[in-house]
Structure formats: structure tokens, C-alpha cells
């Protein structure tokens, strides 16, 4: 088993909390993992990415080679497209649909949609709205993770367990909110995957 994931977003959006849940679930299943992060200057509103690699064999490179990623998981649609060249033949794109506009030359929505719609294997969803429905916009990351869960080759219960552990110190209400957000994201992906 081997899965290579590129997590993408804008500095401050919190892609690392998604990586933390996946990472913990993977370690609990006794898998190897490597996860490289971006710290420093780019975190100030720039594009950030994390390479997350999970395998039942030892992993060499901290970075995923071009054309080898199984999944690009993005909190922002233009950031999702930035890493398209890393996707493999069977790779999936799972992304938030809502742009984060903090640059003057951000592309027009229409052109962005056009670019995304040209790609077949994808789950695009408005994670903020769904998180609000689940109870709070703060659970948006878990909606995205839920939408990615069918592609992760990890037990869904393992992801739930990691959510419980990571959010546990914030109390049961926060845990339940995040679990609900996770399952709502998962439901949307399953809808897309239906034959």
C-alpha cells in the first residue's frame, strides 16, 4: 500500500491540521509516513503545500516526484491547479470551490472554473458552507478531509479516532462538530463516486 498526497492552500488556512489527522491515522495502522511542511516566509499569505507520503514500505524522498501523487487535496481552487502536474494517471483532485483572493491578479472565476472542469477525476465542494451546516465554519478542514477519505486507503474509523484524539482536549462538542463535518464531506465524495 502506498499513497502520496499533496496538500495545498494559502498560508494561514490550516492545511497542516488535515495532515495531522491523516498522519496519526496512518501511524496507528502501523504504516510508514513522511510529511514535509512549509515554515517561514511563505506562511505570510503565500502559497503553501505539504507533501504527505504513506506506505507499508520504508519511504525515501520527503518530496513526491512529478506525476506520482495519488491525490491533490486543496483548500483553495487556484492552489489545487498549481499542483496538477504532480498528479498520476489515476490521481484525484479534491478541492474547496471558494477562491481566496489576496492578490490583485487573481484569475476571473469563469476562467478558473473552465480550467477545473477540464479535469475529470475530481470532487469540488464548498467546504465553508458545509462546515457552517455542520455547526461551525471552523470545521471546514475536516469537511475537505472527509471528501478525501474514500481515496486515502485508510480505515474511516481510524480517521474518526484521530479526530477524537486531536480535538479531544477542546471538549466533546468540538469533537462531535468535527466528526459531523468529516462525515458530511465523505457523503459528498461518495455521491460523486456513485456509478
Amino acid at each position: 500500500m502506498k499513497i502520496d498526497i499533496i496538500l495545498a492552500g494559502v498560508g494561514g488556512q490550516g492545511i497542516l491540521s488535515i495532515a495531522a489527522v491523516i498522519g496519526e491515522a496512518a501511524l496507528n495502522q502501523g504504516l510508514f509516513m513522511k510529511q514535509s511542511e512549509v515554515h517561514g516566509m511563505s506562511q505570510r499569505g503565500g502559497d503553501v503545500q505539504s507533501n504527505l507520503r504513506i506506505s507499508d514500505q520504508a519511504i525515501y524522498s520527503d518530496l513526491i516526484p512529478t506525476g506520482k501523487a495519488d491525490l491533490v487535496l486543496a483548500l483553495e481552487p487556484m492552489e489545487a491547479l498549481r499542483y496538477l502536474s504532480f498528479l498520476s494517471v489515476d490521481g484525484w483532485l479534491v478541492s474547496n470551490s471558494v477562491p481566496y483572493v489576496n492578490i490583485p491578479n487573481y484569475p476571473e472565476e469563469e476562467k478558473l472554473q473552465e480550467s477545473i472542469s477540464g479535469f475529470q477525476r475530481k470532487v469540488i465542494l464548498d467546504v465553508d458552507s458545509i462546515a457552517r451546516e455542520a455547526g461551525s465554519v471552523r470545521a471546514a478542514n475536516m469537511v475537505l478531509l472527509g471528501a478525501a477519505s474514500p481515496f486515502l486507503q485508510l480505515d474511516y474509523s481510524g480517521l474518526e479516532q484521530a479526530v477524537r484524539h486531536i480535538f479531544g482536549r477542546k471538549g466533546e462538542t468540538v469533537v462531535e462538530l468535527n466528526l459531523k463535518a468529516l462525515s458530511m464531506g465523505k457523503a459528498i465524495a461518495e455521491q460523486v463516486l456513485k456509478p
Binding site: 494559502v10 498560508g11 498522519g23 496519526e24 501511524l27 510508514f32 509516513m33 513522511k34 510529511q35 514535509s36 511542511e37 512549509v38 515554515h39 517561514g40 516566509m41 511563505s42 506562511q43 505570510r44 499569505g45 503565500g46 502559497d47 507533501n51 519511504i59 525515501y60 524522498s61 520527503d62 518530496l63 513526491i64 516526484p65 512529478t66 506525476g67 506520482k68 487556484m78 492552489e79 491547479l81 498549481r82 499542483y83 496538477l84 502536474s85 498528479l87 498520476s88 494517471v89 489576496n102 492578490i103 490583485p104 491578479n105 487573481y106 484569475p107 476562467k111 478558473l112 473552465e114 480550467s115 479535469f119 482536549r169 477542546k170
Partner: protein, 533 residues
């Protein structure tokens, strides 16, 4: 023992704690910051009162670490690569004096300049000082090497450098710990001359360093961190240093067909290199950073171009390595199915919305708008360096920590009418104070803006040792009290700020303006932390 999921930086920190350090000394700098932060948040460090406060700069950090070693205890000193330049004086001399308590010097290099102004390779410093350098390829090795480096340092009587790079520093993986070792007892050198580097003593100490080179070489030859992996295809022999080994093996998942010498400890193991060179048609050197090893083996002339790498051109001369670059060096094809669509725009970092630096730059730009080429603004290292970018376009220089003030001074000496320096609070106490003293000494007409957000913000909000005493420091250095002006950088104070800046840049002497407002990120984090507790 259970695996811990650690960043490379954290693995180094955990190893130091397990190896029984009595103190870590450091100034924050990407990608080294998380080493010290990990120790600061460790229960063990608190319980045993292991020294872990930030130092004013890398030089003071290195000197304090030497003091701890003088007193017989183990110490670690950590910095980013350009910090090694700041610490270079005590660093070079630490190899002359040698150590008593084990001293590990961690240099975190930043190839590709993710967060730096150059990509210098600290292995050169290790070679320059003639001390052993360890270079891990993964998080477990980072742990093991840091742990063993203290023993090696005490065995040899010299500091040992641990060199890591951004990718390893900021990547997480499982790490297995070793046995915890107690701290050293306070004890001193048997030789009263050891740390007194008067020429008469220093000449003796230097001879001792030269004599020790043989031991260091012998230890490297036998080191388990330098390993040979046989291969059948002798058309190429590969030398893979540190993390470069990972990118090689990523491309040869089922085993590398060529013989590989994996390097993790310097000086280079001469015998193993010679054997590989003789048995193969061509040598491929994979190293993260400058072509140090390639140049050492190939020499000046590299007759027959037998040694290849970054210098020969099979790999790029600059920037970080990755699996694709290494694949190309072996003629392996990568599969790229999709191109990045043209709609994707670059998204450079920017000053946060609501940041006080923004208000400072708006006011500064307005204050000097009329002066055109007669005004230049000298920047410094920190978040506020982003003032160079649109919409501010406020900076004309940024060289190194503290250079804003001294470059402004030099330009004023040359005849520039309005020389303005912009420096952060932490950078000012790191290296700006002596610069200011130079200006005060000659009463050079410069205006220094210390944009104070009360933390080292770019690296994540570490304490700034000058917090709460910047005015006192400037007055103490001799700046006239009426030309030390404190401001609150807010939109509503824009007009007042413009007026004050105009007044001070027209004063023909040294003035200091201190716009002060806490970093909004640090405030937010503190609020979250207090809500959770």
C-alpha cells in the same frame, strides 16, 4: 520503544535532551527555529531547568554554549546558515580552544532560499574550522547523529557540526529514541591554558587541532554513517551526501544498479572514495548545497571529467535537489501528464492585513514622497522586508541582520540627503545596536525606524530580548532623547506619523522612530492559548 512523529528539527532536539544537554543556545531563524522551541516546550527541560531561553544573536549563543562547555556540561547551539556568519568568530576559535563538555553546533542550511538571502553551504565552515561534520539523510539519522555527536565531541575534545537542510528540518517522520543519559557534573579542563587564546597558547592549541585531523579521518573511515552499497553496473559510481541519498533511492526503488557510497560524516572517508573512483568509469556526486565534495574529489582540473555533479552540469548548480532533478541526471524519464494551467498566478507572501508594519510603510512612503531620488530606505531582515513588494515598494536595500542602519550611515557619509533605515525590534537587538552606536559617534544624519511588534514575528513569534527597553537602549547609546519618538501605528494616526517622520528626517543628526504595536498573529495565538487553558 514507541515511534515519535517528529520534524527533523524536533528529532535533533529530542536527541540532545536524551544525550543529557544542560543547555541550548540559539537565535531563531528558518529552518532551525523548531529545535529550540521543542526544547522550550519539553517537560524534561522545565523539570531539570535546562537552559533554553533565546540569545540576542548567534554569536552570543555560541559564546554562551562555549561557557557551558568550559564548565564541563553538554551544550547545543543552533542557527540558520547565515547565522553561522554571525557566530563565525567564536565558532572558528572554538576549534582552536577545543571543548570540555560536549558541544554540538547545528547549522540549518536553506538551499533554494525558501526563507533566506543566500544558500551558503555550512559544510564549508566545518571544513574551515577542521572539525567533524555530520549530515543526516532522514529524521532517524538526525536523531542518531545528534545523540552520538555529543560523545564524538567529548571523545575528540572538539565541537562537532551537525548540518541539516530545510527539507529535512521541516519534514516529519517516525523516530525511535535511545536511552536517556544524565547531565554532566560541573568540571573544568586540566589545562589552565586551554581557553586562554593568547598567541603563545593558541599556537599550541592549533598544533593540537592539526594533529587531531588524523583521528577525525580515522573515525570517518570507520563511521557507520558512511556506508557502501555494492552495485553491479560499474559504469557509474555514486556518492550521495545527506538527504541526496533519498532522492537517489526514490528513483531506484528496487535497488540501485550502481555502487553507492552514502556519506553522513566528514572529513570524507578517503579510502572508500578512492576505491569507488578507481572501480568505476564515472563518479556522480549528489549533494544538497554547493559542490563541495565534487570539487574536493575532482580537484581544480578534473582531468577526463571523471567526476560529475553540480559543477560538471549534470545537476543544476543552484537550488535544492528533488527526485525529478536526480532522475534527469541519470537520464530517467518522469511522467508529467498535466501542465500547470495558465490561469494559476504566483501568490507571493505579504504583510498580514492589520499588521502595524503596513501603517508604518504607508506613513513612511507619504513622508518621503516629495524627495524622490534624494531619499532611500534601507531595509533589514524580518516580516517588514515584505515592504519591498507591492503595494508598498518601500525598500531599496536588504543585505543582512542589522545592515539597514549601517548601510544608511554609509550612504549618508557618501552624501545621500535622506537616509532612512527600517529595522525590526528583534533584528535591532541582534545586530543593530552597534550600528546605531557608529552613527551616534559621528552624529551621522540618518533616521532609524525600529518597527516594533514586540516579537521575532517571521519565525513564529519568539520573545524579543529588547522588548520594553528599546527607548532606553537608544538613549543609552547616546541618541538625543528628544529625537527618540514613539508612535502607535494605526490608520487613524497616519497624519501624525507622517508629520513625525518628516520632522525627524529633516533633523541633521541621528533620530530613532519607534512605531510600536504587537504582532497580530502573536496576539491571536496568545488569546487562543489562554482560552484553552
Amino acid at each position: 520503544m514507541n515511534k515519535l512523529l517528529l520534524l527533523g528539527d524536533e528529532a535533533v532536539a529530542q536527541a540532545a535532551l536524551d544525550a543529557g544537554i544542560s543547555g541550548v543556545y540559539a537565535y531563531p531563524g528558518t529552518p532551525s527555529t523548531e529545535i529550540t522551541e521543542y526544547i522550550q516546550s519539553s517537560d524534561k527541560a522545565q523539570k531539570e531547568n535546562i537552559h533554553r531561553a533565546w540569545s540576542a544573536n548567534e554569536k552570543t549563543a555560541m559564546e554562551a554554549a562555549m561557557g557551558m562547555s568550559f564548565a564541563g556540561k553538554r551544550s547545543m547551539v543552533c542557527m540558520k546558515h547565515v547565522g553561522v556568519n554571525v557566530a563565525a568568530d567564536p565558532f572558528m576559535n572554538s576549534a582552536i580552544s577545543g571543548i570540555v563538555g560536549g558541544l554540538v553546533f547545528v547549522a540549518a542550511d536553506d538551499p533554494s532560499m525558501h526563507s533566506s538571502q543566500n544558500e551558503q553551504d555550512s559544510r564549508f565552515y566545518g571544513r574551515f574550522a577542521m572539525i567533524p561534520v555530520l549530515e543526516p539523510s532522514n529524521q532517524q539519522e538526525a536523531y542518531d547523529m545528534a545523540y552520538q555527536a555529543f560523545e564524538l565531541s567529548e571523545k575528540l575534545g572538539f565541537p562537532v557540526m551537525l548540518r541539516i537542510t530545510t527539507r529535512l528540518a521541516h519534514s516529519r517522520s517516525g523516530v525511535i529514541r535511545r536511552e536517556e543519559r544524565a547531565q554532566n557534573e560541573l568540571h573544568f579542563s586540566d589545562d589552565p591554558r586551554q581557553f586562554v587564546l593568547l598567541p603563545v597558547n593558541a599556537r599550541q592549541r592549533y598544533k593540537r587541532l592539526l594533529a587531531a585531523q588524523q583521528d577525525m579521518q580515522a573515525i570517518s573511515e570507520a563511521s557507520s554513517f558512511n556506508t557502501f552499497l555494492p552495485g553491479k553496473d560499474m559504469s557509474k559510481g555514486i556518492i550521495a551526501c545527506g538527504i541526496a541519498y533519498n532522492y537517489l533511492m526514490e528513483n531506484f526503488q528496487d535497488g540501485c544498479p550502481y555502487p553507492v557510497l552514502k556519506i553522513g560524516q566528514y572529513p570524507l572517508p578517503k579510502e572508500a572514495v578512492a576505491q569507488l573512483l578507481e572501480s568505476c568509469d564515472q563518479l556522480v556526486v549528489l549533494e544538497e548545497g554547493y559542490p563541495l565534495v565534487e570539487e574536493m574529489i575532482g580537484g581544480l582540473l578534473n582531468v577526463g571529467n571523471k567526476v560529475t555533479g553540480r559543477l560538471s552540469g549534470i545537476l543544476p548548480r543552484d537550488g535544492e535537489l528533488n527526485p525529478d532533478i536526480v532522475a534527469a541526471a541519470f537520464g530517467l524519464k518522469t511522467t508529467k501528464l498535466y501542465e500547470k494551467p495558465e490561469v494559476v498566478m504566483p501568490r507571493p507572501p505579504a504583510l498580514c492585513q492589520g499588521c502595524g508594519h503596513r501603517d508604518m510603510y504607508d506613513a513612511l512612503n507619504a513622508a518621503i514622497a516629495d524627495y524622490g531620488e534624494r531619499a532611500k530606505v534601507f531595509g533589514d531582515i524580518g516580516c517588514y522586508t515584505l515592504g519591498y513588494l507591492p503595494p508598498f515598494r518601500a525598500l531599496h536595500a536588504c543585505l543582512d541582520m542589522g545592515a539597514s542602519i549601517t548601510m544608511a550611515k554609509g550612504a549618508a557619509d557618501a552624501g545621500l540627503e535622506y537616509a532612512v533605515a527600517v529595522i525590526g525590534d528583534s533584528t535591532f537587538t541582534h545586530s543593530g545596536m552597534t550600528s546605531l552606536l557608529d552613527a551616534v559617534y559621528e552624529n551621522t544624519p540618518i533616521t532609524v525606524i525600529i518597527s516594533d511588534n514586540e516579537v521575532a514575528a517571521m519565525t513564529g513569534g519568539q520573545d524579543s530580548p529588547g522588548s520594553g527597553r528599546l527607548e532606553a537602549i537608544c538613549a543609552g547609546l547616546g541618541v538625543e532623547p528628544e529625537h527618540i519618538r514613539s508612535l502607535l501605528p494605526l490608520k487613524k494616526n497616519h497624519d501624525e506619523m507622517v508629520r513625525v517622520i518628516k520632522e525627524e528626517i529633516n533633523y541633521p543628526g541621528v533620530s530613532v522612530i519607534i512605531p510600536r504595536r504587537a504582532c497580530i498573529h502573536t496576539l491571536k495565538r496568545k488569546k487562543t492559548a489562554s482560552n484553552e487553558n
